[in-house]
Amino acid sequence: MAEQGMQVAAAGRPKKWRSGNRRGTVFRRPWSGLVIGLGLLPLKTITGIAGLGVAAAIAISAIGDGSGLSARAAQADAAALLDARSPGEREAGILLASKPAREPKSMIMSMAQERENGVPALVERALGRLGPSASADVPDLIPLPDLLLDGSPVQALASALGLPRSGAPVPSFAGGLPLPGGGGSGGGGGGGPGSETPEPNPPVVSPVPEPSSWIIMIAGFVLVGWVLRRGRAAGRQPGLAGAP
């Protein structure tokens, strides 16, 4: 009975456990970390030191993996096998919880929900805008004459809004942020057909960047600083980043 069982056991491995196996193959050997560390050594920079630390971690992990494998029994107690997979006894006091009450998803309505329901959101995000809101900037919709017959709706709109025909910026629909003045050509672009009907609810762009953006920016500063230091140490004019 036992022999047959072991034959079955040796037939293969479940596919489920094979995931993520090939990618780390090189790093499973204890010496692989050392090789990487030695490779990094002649670089004489911080990367070399950091690389050594990382390599040491890899080496330690590889050693740990090797030793963890050896303890295996040919035969096992069925109860122990069941214990290994079972999360244990169910918590006491479950009376009838086949369909437990779900927690309300969120007290804050999303923008999409708000638009669907036509109900204004109860909660406004802090730091949502810097400048005055777009609805305050853009004058109310003026009942326009039939502009499309004219053939030049942009100019007609501009004149209807009391603006000079070219050059001056037409208030754009995303006008939450006060733009620095001028921008003649840009204003012409802003007055394109898209701005005929200003959106009542412009998409809010948070002025506080995401953490990932912060990380990228800080990494960039570090890189720039490092390159500048490198240039100065070599007695060259700082500024030409990284030119050899």
Binding site: V8, A9, R23, R85, P87, I94, L95
Partner: protein, 212 residues
């Protein structure tokens, strides 16, 4: 002589080395999470282990059981038929351990964490046989979908797929993870025995102890 590491090539090399090192670390953590991935050169852990106990599920002796080696979460399951010959299928449900085991020809081919009846509507213990199989079933008792339903009793106890999660219970049915239910439904036939046990009293000690 300019060292190789001075120019852009050196930079590329440095970045590549750090990237490789990070890859190694990520694979290491991945390794820790999915315990069981091993090098091909090292002997792979066996899928199944021979069971030292001599115990029976619905009258059929159990020879090997899946070597799961980790606690399954609610909703998780293992299904592996590799190397198992065709044969009769029997099912053992242990309420205390919240597990189900599917045996074919004495070898375990699947196991999962299950839901069972709440304290006010307990799952009855005993050996049952599948009376009816319906892939899409809607309970007329509870007005709920019960995919891959395998009826055990005529008063509404069945195996069926459900949303298995921690802290949930059923009205007496055995709730299975959906993927597991689909596989079991395929493997099952009418009359398949299902032993529902409350504890391990059916698992006796090793064969030698049992003979004495």
């Amino acid at each position: 002589v300019k060292p190789l590491s001075a120019g852009w090539l050196g930079w590329i090399g440095r970045v590549a080395l750090v990237g490789i090192a990070l890859l190694g670390v990520s694979s290491w953590t991945n390794e820790r999470v999915t315990a069981g991935t091993k090098l091909p050169s090292v002997a792979a852990p066996p899928i199944r282990l021979a069971v030292a106990n001599s115990f029976y599920v619905a009258g059929m002796p159990v020879e090997t059981m899946l070597n799961v080696r980790r606690t399954l979460r609610h909703g998780a399951f293992v299904w592996n038929e590799e190397g198992v010959p065709p044969g009769k299928i029997s099912v053992r449900v242990e309420l205390a351990a919240q597990t189900i085991s599917v045996f074919r020809a004495g070898h375990e081919i699947g196991t999962a964490i299950i839901l069972f009846g709440a304290d006010s509507k307990p799952t009855p213990v005993g050996t049952y046989f599948v009376l009816e199989q319906r892939e899409q079933h809607r309970s007329n008792l509870y007005d709920a979908d019960m995919p891959y339903m395998m009826r055990l009793t005529n008063d509404g106890i069945a195996l069926h797929g459900s949303d298995v999660r921690r802290g949930a219970a059923t009205h007496g049915c055995i709730g299975l993870p959906l993927g597991f239910a689909r596989r079991l439904f395929k493997a099952a036939t009418l009359g398949m025995p299902v032993a529902i046990v409350a504890d391990r009293s059916d698992i006796l000690g090793p064969a030698s102890e049992r003979l004495s």
